[in-house]
């Protein structure tokens, strides 16, 4: 059972790494947000897999439901901010945000 958990953790770590790479290297705001989504997939996989391998799947599901609700709120707010940024700067380039004033 322990080895199964390590397999799931290895894949969750790869997902988190992929998301962090996107956050560090991409310039498009939507791409950056896709990176955050990939990280959140890794985290929810880690949560549910830990519950599954430790016989606590019900608590893990309850926590993962909370996580998904928060994720949806974050996505809605962040995409609204991205649309407003686009209207303000005319571009989705994250580097243009450094030139904002006031």
């Amino acid at each position: 059972m322990n080895n199964t958990w390590l397999v799931y953790m290895a894949f969750a770590a790869v997902l988190v790494f992929t998301g962090i790479y996107a956050l560090l290297s991409m310039r498009n705001l939507i791409k950056l947000f896709i990176g955050i989504e990939v990280i959140s997939k890794g985290v929810s996989l880690a949560l549910v897999a830990t519950g599954f391998t430790r016989n606590h799947i019900l608590v893990a599901q309850a926590l993962a439901v909370t996580f998904i609700v928060i994720e949806v709120s974050v996505v809605a707010t962040a995409l609204a901010i991205i649309i407003n940024t686009y209207r303000h700067t005319g571009s989705l380039d994250v580097r243009k945000l450094t030139k904002l004033k006031g």
Binding site: F17, G19, N28, L92
Partner: protein, 160 residues
């Protein structure tokens, strides 16, 4: 376990494809497919509620939100990404994969298994009785999200 590993590999491949693709629409659809595979994986882990949530909310609702955003910001999608970043991704990915496998192999047998008693009751019991505070927090988060979106899309007053 073989089916799980195939699903996990598909999940990683589609997530990486969502990062690699330059076309935002393709990236969003790859993300939706990755969520679908994760949802199927949750069903295989005997977690049907969270599987249904993942498929309906993350693969459905969030993909729709992404596609609407991409449609609203259509002309701004041609941001030039750094070429070094896309070129270096496979190299970094392989290095991390090797490190990950080595670390996880090293951990085999070293993490003690906790003596956990099996859970009793249903998912509803656990969610309602043990995590009541979480549910209240979720309602607060949803309201905060709605208010944030309303504030960001409010109409401008006459004096602005």
């Amino acid at each position: 376990m073989i089916i799980e590993i195939v699903l996990l590999c598909g999940l990683v491949i589609f997530s990486a494809a969502a990062i690699i693709f330059r076309d935002l629409l393709r990236a969003a659809i790859c993300l939706a497919v990755a969520s679908l595979l994760l949802g199927i994986l949750f069903f295989r882990m005997k977690a049907p509620y969270i599987g249904a949530f993942e498929i309906s909310v993350v693969a459905g609702l969030i993909t729709v939100l992404f596609i609407v955003t991409i449609a609203l910001t259509k002309t701004g999608g041609d941001v030039r990404e750094s070429k070094t970043a896309s070129w270096a991704f496979p190299a970094f990915f392989v290095v991390f994969l090797v490190l990950d496998i080595l670390v996880m192999r090293g951990l085999i047998g070293k993490i003690p298994a906790l003596g956990a008693a099996p859970e009793e009751g249903s998912f509803g019991d656990v969610l309602w009785k043990a995590r009541t505070f979480d549910l209240v927090g979720q309602i607060g988060v949803i309201f905060a999200g709605v208010l944030a979106v309303l504030a960001l899309f409010r109409k401008r007053g006459k004096d602005e």
